[in-house]
Symmetry: C2
Subunit: 352 residues, 2 copies
Amino acid sequence: MKRQVSIKDVASEAGVSASTVSYVLNENPNVTISAETRERVLSAARDLNYVPNQAARTLGSSRVMGMTESKLIGIVIPQTEPEHYGARLMFSNPFYSTFLSAIELQIRRAGYHLIVSGTNPGQSYFEIVRSRALDGVIILGMYPSDDEEEYRSFNVPTVLVDCYGCDGRFFYGVNTDDRKGGYLATRYLLERGHQKIAFVTGQLKEHGVNSLRYRGYCDALDEFGVVLDPARVFSGYVGFDYGAEAAHKMAENINNVTAVFATSDITAIGVMNGFRAHGISVPDDVSLIGFDDIEYAKICYPPLTTIRQNIEEKGRRAAGLIIDAISDRQLPRVKEVIELELIERATVRSLA
Amino acid sequence: MKRQVSIKDVASEAGVSASTVSYVLNENPNVTISAETRERVLSAARDLNYVPNQAARTLGSSRVMGMTESKLIGIVIPQTEPEHYGARLMFSNPFYSTFLSAIELQIRRAGYHLIVSGTNPGQSYFEIVRSRALDGVIILGMYPSDDEEEYRSFNVPTVLVDCYGCDGRFFYGVNTDDRKGGYLATRYLLERGHQKIAFVTGQLKEHGVNSLRYRGYCDALDEFGVVLDPARVFSGYVGFDYGAEAAHKMAENINNVTAVFATSDITAIGVMNGFRAHGISVPDDVSLIGFDDIEYAKICYPPLTTIRQNIEEKGRRAAGLIIDAISDRQLPRVKEVIELELIERATVRSLA
DNA sequence: TACCTTTACTTTAACGTTAAAATAACAATC
DNA sequence: GATTGTTATTTTAACGTTAAAGTAAAGGTA
């Protein structure tokens, strides 16, 4: 087991000092290096197969306050669903594979690496931000936490994805207009004569995606003068199984429902399957609309009418924002909004 | 912007030296600390809200050769599909969200963080292993690379998932018996009277999953005395779109096919959809069997008959292995095999 | 010629931590 | 009473890097 090749080895191979090597390798603009020396250093580094030690870099660069560079970006994916639902896995929803993949690609191209972390319930994720000296953080669907004050004091660029009502003077945001999405889906059903519209969703947390979609649902009902019936609102967790569970409950009193708006496609598909088990047909007996437009929305049978959010675009924007925010600490704290689009497929029938 | 709270701050608060703090916090078994001092240190650390700097830890621990601890595990997900197929995203297959999620959970519980990285084509991922001083690496479906020799010399515990024919004296492995899976799927079709069985897959790389499944396909054909027809073999990339593309090609000469074995569910579902577009019914006109048993296999219509591999289990095993291998460098280099199971659903019809 | 500037480096110290060696106090053994 | 051992701690140096200060030579200006 050989010792790591360090900058000193490169330096002595090239016949210069360690700093010179550092300056060459980092293309430090504050220092002039002759072309001839630069060449010698570069070829020595190549010959020795030198790879910089990032831990040392991180530490070394922390001398100037606030200038620490770990070249590490964290993405925090909270455990949003209660454990008693059996949701031990943090992000098994296929939404995440597309989202993460889009982020990872951009991040890597910009020379960063990506740390993916769930959250330990009750434990703060600040710790990872601090201990790893993360250059930036992307947080998914979670309001930062109780001690936001403290978090700010670290001054780490932070992009909140799908988080509402958070302070736009500190955080960057990437959102979809979920309230509008909820409204569009519900209006679409109302326009086709549906009034008994059930709403199936995950946890209704303040500032959460689901609450916004719920607000949109209420908006549309209001607009059409339909009174909201709490017996038609099912709030559990995001997932196929809960959709099926909700369908079973609805099946007991199916006359109370002519259409269902599920706030995620995976839940909607669960609803569809749950109904099928009771011999209830979508869309002949009950209409159904989802949210997200994951790949399976067009694959399932019948293909799901849904509100599309461009997940890949969402990932790209989040990554782009965090990269820009890291390199320009003065970057105005924007909130980017990803457009929504209603995709008509085959799960909604007009009652006319 | 305040300076980071360091171990020295804790030390002076507790009235001891920095090393003492380090010893207490790491519960270093080689050093005895009085209960009273331990208490003082711990409470000082709590009061100051101290979080250790991992970069410094990594660097500091690298004094003893081979003992560097970054508490970082890398997972490398290679770009397996050619860019011209439009596969810019590395791991948008929903397989990965379950797999990653299972790994992340285990890793975090053991006190590690997870770096997720794709690969830059042509560029070695050794660099990330070295520059980040990764404690362990999980590599997905890829033979380490040309300069395996060099990689070994770093002596980093490495688990290869879905990689065959690699040296078991150095690497740990987590595999499914893909050849057997390919055999089981094909035999199931043959037993039901099918002979014209198409095979739809991704890239057929040596030591790759797809090649093994192909071997199993060949095994079964041989056993039943059926001659392999290369015109029934479609090798493109793993994904819905390629499945549909293959279906279009098959539709041109549909009499040449009575059943299809697709080596991943997502591809199988693409085949199903492609056929549907041509008015070809699964299973009435053509039977279909997939591989993986992703969530959507049971959700799609008709539900897909497939070979199940327990993806979550696979992730858990890989994570468990890497954690054990890090803490015990002498751990025998095992290859764990995840059991396969044929799940009968509704996409295969008997020709009888 | 004396002074300033620029170019091209080198030297030094620091980042936060830990391993190893050193020390000091005390107890046990001969 | 000297030696050895144990316990509890401190001191020192090192990990690999970089920022900042320092130096030396060459070139330009008054």
